[in-house]
């Protein structure tokens, strides 16, 4: 979320897949879209056939490269240098979209005098606390804006426990409505000039040195992509976990956002940034989060000790003086009414204290380490397979052996549910079944066609799937499981009315059920999510109607409008009447398909051009009109002058499209909210074979957390003679993530039956491996065996003079299912980037040796032998 969130206001993809067909250039980086999203890729192919240039930047020549116009091999983990290079090119060659940048971005905003850029301090921005390994963002703020300091706590958005998902804005640390600008962009401390200086060294030479991309190739990409800009052209950037799973993941996406802002590509058809998600409802599961640090609609969970003392304080900390977040209190009160109903009153701060307080890193990787250390008792796993899918699998599986009990819900018997029985640790004698005290419940889950509910897809589109048949046997939906479990707890709480159970007793938990198994009505849940007017009992059609006086309720404000009436479920509506699919499903917010689309018109409200006409100001009707719902106040004219007293969008000027931001602008520079700095800066992966050519003093992202410990060791970096090669992991079209939904299916399993490692002919010769041999791949964490797929599609790169070999490894296999194989993720380390606590999977180091590792305990002996070895 934070990458896009802090830059433009919302963490979601800014456009729709269909809109790719209108692009003049598409840059796919950190994703193999043709392989991971084949059906979405049809829009890229359609654009390509219309003459759009498709550029794929990837360490490997993938099925996406094979269908693109330009393929650029890039050393895994050097993405920011490449994107920084593009930004540098755009700035140096005056390719940026002047009017757009001037009116729609914060380029002209002037920074405080005490702000020091990383370029001037060897990689560190001002405010660095070497002790705590964290930044105080005060000096990053705009000149003139007041820091929000409360009783000596860290500024909002920078709490230690923060998980980074509540970042659908940034800028929390200060009052961002007060600032100075210089519309000539000449002021030395204006963001435009700071940006220029920051990326001054990201030259084509540097790109060649660090990424291994020949200069002429880089320049061809730069020219091609920069050309997709201006009034009549647009370009789109597609990314996926190839960017996010880095210790600098958020900043990579930031760099892409900066590029798109400079080229004027947000909010326009064929433009924007398309974040490609890998699971059916991964967008939905952050909108309505099963995450520790946020509440539905990207409202932060209250952090203990920081902003949670009183409701007022919490609201004050997280609402802004202008833009949509001025309605934070309306959203929050309505949300608390949805959860706690009548028990939420003005007197008890709307039940604010029913909410648990976040006291630390409760993210998956965070609590998993606690689990390993025996601090957890029980765990629910629903539709996920960490024994195969999570980094440092050995640690993951051993940790589960320290649980008292484990509940796994899935369609099949996945590895996570049988770690005690047949995991590699059992086979290697690290764990003994009879020693493991963990109680395990493996519960059969219902398949998607056996239950009703909605998925939110990669373009923020809610689509309803209808139950077709009953689930087999005792298989049940998660809805059924949680609802009936909840009823039991409600019953117990009702019997013991202790303060501990206040929240449970207050919780509204009445749902109509249907059928023999008493399946709760998903549509009733959707109605609660959508929200009602409590005075009339009517369902709401827009979040603009939410109130802070307790007369409205809504479980997730950004979804309001998905169920505007008892007899309507917009997510289930299926009559598309235009290319963007209006009439088909519901795209949050307010069924807007391309967000920030005010930017598709010039500041004066007229379309930029005929070709890219999308949303414009209709002078007669005095309203915004066009091909999409306006992501703006419908009747607010382009020449509107901001009125802070009114709050909301009216507190912004009529030519400021990014309404989530208190200044209504897209942020080239993020004045607070990101824990590793206001501007993207290149750092090497936590394990890298090369020095950081830009900031030798700081090899890797300073605030990132390696979680280094004996059971989560690292290679020494740079240059660990034991691990000379770069390893990057990825998915295949034929399988799905950790394999629970593909390795048990014959038709998919036969297409990719065995774990393989893709290596170049050069690396094959170097290591004496011939095609289809078994090889063993080694990292400080583990060793695994795979078949060698020797292919000309892999090519060594020349980095700083020497050849860097890369090993590509798909990660789908485990020890269960029709086709089995070693667990690739055993090789990875548990690490956390500073902002969202994601691990680094795309760039690390390894060794590759011919032959298959021995079975049983011998495998570990081999590993230790190899780790000690220093030729």
């Amino acid at each position: 979320m934070p990458g896009l969130g802090t830059s433009v206001g919302r963490g979601g993809a800014t456009t729709a897949q269909q809109s790719l067909a209108d692009s003049d250039a598409i840059l796919i980086m950190g994703s193999s879209m043709a392989e991971q999203h084949p059906v979405g890729y049809q829009w890229v192919v359609e654009a390509r056939e219309r003459g759009c240039k498709v550029i794929h930047v990837d360490p490997r020549f993938t099925r996406t490269s094979a269908t693109a116009d330009i393929w650029v091999p890039l050393r895994a983990g050097s993405d920011i240098v490449f994107l920084g290079g593009l930004i540098h090119y755009v700035l140096e060659n005056e390719k940026w979209f002047k009017e757009y940048v001037l009116h729609y971005t914060n380029a002209s905003t002037i920074l405080r005098d005490d702000y020091v850029d990383a370029e001037d301090a060897g990689g560190l921005f001002s405010g660095w606390d070497a002790e705590k390994k964290k930044y105080d963002p005060e000096t990053w703020l705009y000149k003139g804006s007041e820091p929000k300091k409360e009783n000596g706590q860290s500024l909002p958005g920078h709490h230690d426990a923060g998980g980074g998902h509540a970042k659908d804005r940034g800028g929390e640390a200060g009052n961002t409505t007060e600032f100075e600008t210089d519309d000539t962009l000449q002021h030395p401390r204006c963001i435009f000039q700071v940006l220029k200086r920051h990326f001054a060294r990201y030259t084509p030479e540097m790109v060649e040195r660090s990424c291994g991309v020949p200069q002429d190739v880089f320049l061809r990409v730069a020219e091609t992509y920069a050309a997709a800009s201006g009034r009549s052209k647009t370009g789109c950037i597609c990314y996926a976990v190839g960017w996010t799973q880095h210790s600098t993941g958020v900043q990579i996406i930031r760099a892409a956002a900066i590029l798109q802002l400079l080229l004027g590509n947000f909010g326009r058809p064929g433009g924007g940034i398309l974040a490609l998600r890998g699971h059916a409802s991964i967008q939905g599961s952050t909108d309505i989060p099963t995450l520790y640090d946020i509440l539905p609609g990207y409202m932060p969970m209250p952090f203990f000790d920081a902003d949670s003392k009183t409701f007022e304080q919490y609201i004050k900390q997280h609402s802004t003086e202008a833009g949509l977040w001025t309605k934070f209190e309306d959203f929050m009160v309505s949300f608390l009414k949805a959860w706690y109903g009548d028990a939420a009153t003005k007197e008890n701060q709307w039940g604010f204290n029913f909410l648990p307080r976040v006291t630390g890193d409760h993210s998956e990787l965070g609590y998993w380490l606690d689990m390993k250390d025996g601090k957890l008792e029980g765990l629910f796993v629903m539709g996920q397979n960490p024994a195969v899918g999570a980094p440092n699998g050995r640690l993951q599986r051993k940790a589960m052996a320290n649980l008292k009990w484990l509940v796994v819900r899935d369609l099949v018997e996945i590895e996570t549910s049988t770690f005690w029985k047949d995991s590699p640790e059992i086979e290697r004698g690290e764990l003994r079944t009879e020693d493991i005290a963990t109680e395990v419940f493996l519960m059969p889950a219902a398949g998607p066609a056996e239950k009703s509910g909605s998925f939110t897809n990669t373009q923020r589109l809610l689509q309803w799937h209808n139950k077709a048949v009953e689930p087999p046997g005792d298989a049940r939906s998660e809805l059924w499981f949680v609802y009936h479990l909840g009823r039991m707890f409600k019953g117990r709480a009702a019997r013991e009315r202790t303060p501990k159970n206040d929240a449970l007793n207050a919780l509204t938990w009445e749902l109509p059920t249907e059928g023999a198994v008493a399946e709760p009505s998903a549509e009733a849940v959707l109605a609660e999510i959508n929200g009602r007017d409590l005075t009339t009992g009517k369902l709401l059609s827009t979040f603009e109607d939410l109130k802070r006086d307790g007369t409205t309720m809504s479980g997730c404000w950004i979804y309001t409008g998905v169920k505007p009436a008892e007899n309507r479920n917009v997510a289930n509506e299926r009559s598309a009447h235009d290319a963007l699919g209006h009439g088909w499903g519901f795209a949050w917010p307010k069924d807007t398909r391309i967000i920030y689309n005010r930017a598709s018109a010039a500041p004066d409200g007229t379309p930029w051009s005929e070709e890219k006409k999308f949303v414009w100001w209709d002078e007669e009707k005095r309203e915004w009109t066009g091909k999409d719902i306006t992501d703006f106040k419908k009747d607010m004219p382009p020449d509107h002058k901001r009125d802070l007293s009114k709050g909301g969008l009216e507190a912004l000027d009529g030519d400021k499209p990014f309404g989530m931001h208190p200044d209504g602008r897209g942020w080239l520079y993020v004045n607070s909210g990101l824990k590793d700095g206001p501007l993207p800066t290149h750092f090497e992966p936590l394990e890298s074979p090369v020095e950081n050519p830009l900031y030798p003093q700081h090899q890797s992202n300073p605030p990132s957390d390696k979680k280094q410990r004996p059971d989560n060791p690292y290679a020494s970096t740079p240059h660990d003679s034991r691990f000379p090669f770069v390893l990057t992991t990825y998915r295949l079209t034929e399988h799905h993530t950790a394999g629970g939904m593909s390795r048990s299916l014959s038709h998919l399993s036969e297409l990719q039956p065995e774990l393989f490692a893709e290596i170049s002919l050069e690396l094959a010769e170097l290591t004496g491996v011939s095609p289809n041999d078994y090889v063993t791949i080694v990292t400080p964490r583990a060793l695994i065996s795979a078949r060698a797929l020797v292919t000309p599609r892999m090519t060594p790169l020349i980095i700083q003079g020497h050849q860097i070999h890369q090993v590509g490894l798909p990660y789908h296999w485990g020890w269960k299912g029709i086709v089995t194989g070693d667990v690739a993720n055993d090789l990875l380390a548990i690490s956390q980037d500073p902002n969202v606590r994601i691990m680094e999977t795309k760039g690390l180091v390894c060794n590759l040796i011919p032959g298959r590792h021995p079975a049983g305990h011998k495998a570990l002996d081999e590993l230790h032998e190899l780790l000690e070895e220093r030729p």
Partner: protein, 186 residues
């Protein structure tokens, strides 16, 4: 009897029509009346459960049995197409490896045993309740905490929004669990 047996004998038709035996005269009854297996099925609209492209699916079913799952041509996103995984959604639901009973593993046990759903639900409820009883913190230095870190949840990106909503509501809003996470990060 014999007459209609003969009348169905392609050779006689060949003689009559002088055809070479490669055409309609050789079609069997089955071939003549060939129908798609989805004929007469009910159709329900679904969404592909794999990646986040969100392809539309048509779920064909008859008498409570899934017959076929195909792309939905009306979808503005997928236009009726599906990738190999999406095309395999029918097998995903019907393959023999599907779990249908609750499996339970006792502490230190070497293997699974089947238990019935209600028993499992009650056992799970007891364990959650017990862990919460022991580990729940109402306040810390006088400040509201209402939290337990002893129980964790993982998963959500493959589930429905409504399911995620209930999980977060019950686990965080009701039980005070804070260790809640899923596949989603950025």
């Amino acid at each position: 009897m014999l007459r209609d047996l003969l009348s169905r004998w392609p050779v006689l038709q060949q003689i009559r029509t002088g055809s070479d035996g490669t055409g309609a005269e050789s079609w069997s009854e089955r071939t003549r009346n060939l129908k798609p297996k989805t004929a007469g099925c009910e159709v329900t609209r679904g969404v592909c459960p794999y990646c986040a492209v969100g392809c539309g699916q048509l779920v064909y079913h008859k008498d409570g049995k899934l017959i076929s799952i195909e792309g939905d041509p009306a979808s503005p996103i997928s236009r009726g197409h599906l990738c190999p995984k999406g095309s395999n959604t029918h097998q995903l639901h019907t393959h023999p490896g599907r779990l249908t009973k609750v499996k339970y593993r006792r502490p230190h046990a070497k293997d699974w045993e089947d238990i019935d759903l209600d028993t499992a639900m009650n056992m799970i409820a007891d364990r959650v309740w017990d862990a919460r009883e022991r580990t729940f913190e109402e306040t810390r230095n006088g400040e509201s905490l209402m939290q337990t870190t002893a129980i964790a949840h993982l998963g959500g990106a493959t589930l429905d929004n409504e399911e995620n909503y209930l999980i977060k509501k019950l686990f965080s809003g009701g039980l005070g669990m804070v260790c809640i996470s899923n596949q989603a990060r950025i």
